[in-house]
Symmetry: C2
Subunit: 477 residues, 2 copies
């Protein structure tokens, strides 16, 4: 059995070293690989297939709300990037600059897009003329480049894949409604499709997107107790419209500035999937997003077993995404691989099973073994997949709920950061000085100001002055 | 009627100025827009939706042959690009160079990928160890940048969208088979899904991809008689494997170089769709690729008509992709828009139609009007869409067949280039001097060497020396 165990043994346990466990899973599940360009990653077939499923499912949710996809240029002229002051200050330090086209130096530098507000604004300034042109509900799926100093697979890299929606509206009210709608679309997508429960709320001014009037965020909790900002939606007011001169003629024939939003979700979410559901045997994928939902594993390579395995896979193919492992590896090795790659169910089929006209379904999440007749296997598998999706969510929700603590004074707050991994609910005066001090003292940051404000005290946990808001705090990726 | 006609009148006719007609269609059908970065284009919703459909349908064809999608970095270190001599010579003059990350100059320049052979090779050199790892059948959907001097929407721009497949195989035979398979996948996709008949063949050495041992091409014919290279598949032998040191251990435990292929299809194909099927009223989209297949147009904005239009659209929604034009524009204007945007069918519904329980289906391609009862409309629409798909192909095939001429001597050849737009079949000695002379004298280039060689004479049409191959020649985009 030495060979079969190798794959599992090669992973560091979560308990021992969470960061190492994470990179081990990324590598052993064959999600991603480092490239020769420092900080740039390669999405291998499984990593990319997960992203394709995220894309397909989220895109459908977008389109239901009237969003249309477009594609904007990869590069941004420096002069265009400069127009919105806060925005350029936020991004200029980390963009990649193109200075030559072929052998010739360019008259003006271009940066590779770090985000595309400026490009959409430039387009909208010509494209939008009248109230009849509004709203514009555009989105693009693309990659962006940010020249980060330190990188980690999926969580932070110099290039990442994402979608960025950019909308323009006649009124502030409509733009705010759209920001809130997309915030809710993200939250439902994470909870329903990725089985990841989230905390919804707004960012403090310090944590806002460069140039935004408000930023809505969904925050998820990883198994090491650290938060991961999973998708953000920004309301810009008419700030960009004024900087880029995006005006429309209203029904009274008067010129008005548009009001705008943007919202994005990236391949970081794959990092969240790993750290919310994974375990010491590797990846655990929620069935809705798993590229392969069931792996049929023949326990012996006899012709009749292989044939029966193929027939079983065919019949299951009607209710789920199924593959058959026909390699000549030993069964234990095949199980380890299926577990490492997070495939929600496997169907084991051996000589005795075949004699009895059955197979054994094994859940990835609970390892429960469910013997079932070959006839009933497709229906049973579909039922189990639904149950796995639900239990993964329930388990993650229970973990999240168990990792929210409260702090009414600063000592408790600092102790909780060390001793109670997770979110800390605490009151805040609204001043950035306290956010800065908390970060410096504890490395925890304000994660969000939740919508359902239920004050737990009257004073700021940090300075003791009158409190304005309840805030979720925590260490974060 | 002045207002309704405006849209149509605004287009230059094909006859008058084909190039102007083309850019008019691109603009008026709202496919694409120029951006502030010279030579970079913006895909508007209709243009991008067509690309999404191309992507979905072609991707399914790829996956059926075992191809898996991945994603490789956008940028390439200069040293990596340099490794294959022919390849770098072909691409270095037209790449965009990144020299700064944030404020700091980089130690080594990076180019934005013009194509990703070098990146895949670098990855494969670590990823492939044993014959068990082969074949590797990877593909990516992405954008690439080539710093072109002159640009035209869809046909040539500094950034374009495409897919690039890169495979590695144990033997030359397998690699050649894969090249031919993908060549055939492209040809079938164009003919069956885009209704574009193609000429299949191989490129001459002069026209080959930089670094390839052979290049397979499919060539389509535009309505101005010019050819458009629509997708190419390259066989590399072990040239890249030697340059990038991609070796595997074979079954006898000996080190061998892999044999490789690459193959790509780009947003150029949208240009082909426009120029193969379009007419003086605008775009004509084959139903299989049309984002909207049927536009329901209420002829009056009365409540009962609008309601009936919505009900009709709902019932049609089961058999096809349908939208309803509920705007307050006049019917003629709506027709013009539907025609301009190439929607294959419209369903007109007026007060009298409603009284009689019918609607009128109008084909975009033939303008034939087909009255049909509301009950039968969904089935009839589905049937007509199939027929439109077929007739568009038949019409394009008839055009192609009627625009292939033969030339056995140079005078005839030169006359044909001027007087008989389309492909010219002529014999060739195999020397590049003759290709160069033909191009200089006539601007026609060798398009491909067809597989079914049926010699039409014994001597080269240019130099009169013994002929080796029958070649298709023509002016091309």
């Amino acid at each position: 059995m030495a060979k079969e165990k190798k794959l599992v043994e090669a992973i560091t346990s979560m308990e021992e070293d969470f960061a190492k466990w994470y990179t081990d899973v990324v590598k052993k599940a064959e999600l991603m690989e480092y490239s020769s360009a420092k900080g740039f990653m390669i999405f291998k077939p499984l990593g990319f297939a997960i992203w394709e499923n995220i894309k397909d499912r989220l895109d459908k949710r977008f389109k239901k709300t009237g969003v249309e996809n477009v594609y904007m240029p990869l590069i941004i002229p420096e002069s265009l990037l400069q127009k919105e002051k806060d925005h350029v200050e936020g991004f200029a330090p980390e963009v990649a600059w193109i200075t030559h086209g072929g052998e010739e130096p360019l008259e003006e530098r271009f940066c590779v897009r770090p985000t595309s507000e400026t490009v959409f604004c430039d387009f909208y300034s010509n494209d939008i003329q009248s109230y009849r042109d509004l709203p514009r509900l555009y989105n693009q799926w693309c990659s962006v480049v940010r020249w980060e100093k330190t990188t980690r697979p999926f969580l932070r890299s110099r290039e990442f894949l994402w979608q960025e929606g950019h909308t323009a509206h006649a009124t502030a009210k409509e733009a705010i409604e759209r920001t809130e709608l997309m915030h809710e679309v993200y939250a439902e997508f994470l909870e329903e499709d990725l089985a990841i429960p989230v905390i919804r709320g707004m960012k403090t001014e310090k944590e806002r997107f460069a140039g935004a009037e408000s930023t809505y965020t969904i925050e998820a909790l990883m198994k090491d107790g650290k938060a991961l900002q999973s998708a953000t939606s920004h309301y810009f007011g008419d700030g960009f419209a004024r900087a880029y001169d995006i005006k429309y003629t209203d029904k009274n024939n008067e010129l008005q500035y548009v009001h705008q939003t943007s919202w994005g979700l990236s391949t970081r979410t794959i990092g969240a999937l790993i750290m919310v559901h994974g375990d010491d045997s590797g990846l655990v994928l929620p069935p809705k997003i798993a590229p392969t939902q069931v792996m049929v594993i023949p326990i012996r390579n006899d012709d009749n077993i292989l044939e029966a395995a193929k027939a079983l896979a065919d019949s299951m193919g009607e209710t789920c995404r199924v593959k058959t492992d026909l390699s000549d590896k030993r069964p234990g090795w095949k199980y380890s691989e299926q577990e490492m790659r997070g495939i929600p169910l496997r169907a084991e089929l051996g000589p005795r099973d075949l004699e009895e006209g059955k197979c054994v379904l094994v859940r990835r999440d609970t390892r429960e073994k469910i013997p079932v007749s070959l006839d009933e296997a497709p229906a049973k598998a579909a039922e189990l997949l639904e149950d796995i999706q639900k239990s993964l969510y329930d388990k993650a929700k229970a973990y999240l709920d168990a990792h929210i603590s409260e702090a009414k004074d600063y000592d408790t707050f600092c102790a909780n950061v060390e001793e109670k991994p997770g979110f800390i609910k605490a009151m805040w005066c609204g001043n950035q000085e306290c956010e800065d001090k908390i970060k410096e003292d504890t490395t925890a940051t304000s994660r969000c100001i939740p919508f359902g404000q239920e004050p737990i005290s009257d004073v700021c946990v940090c300075c003791g002055k009158p409190a304005k808001k309840l805030v979720y705090w925590g260490k974060a990726y």
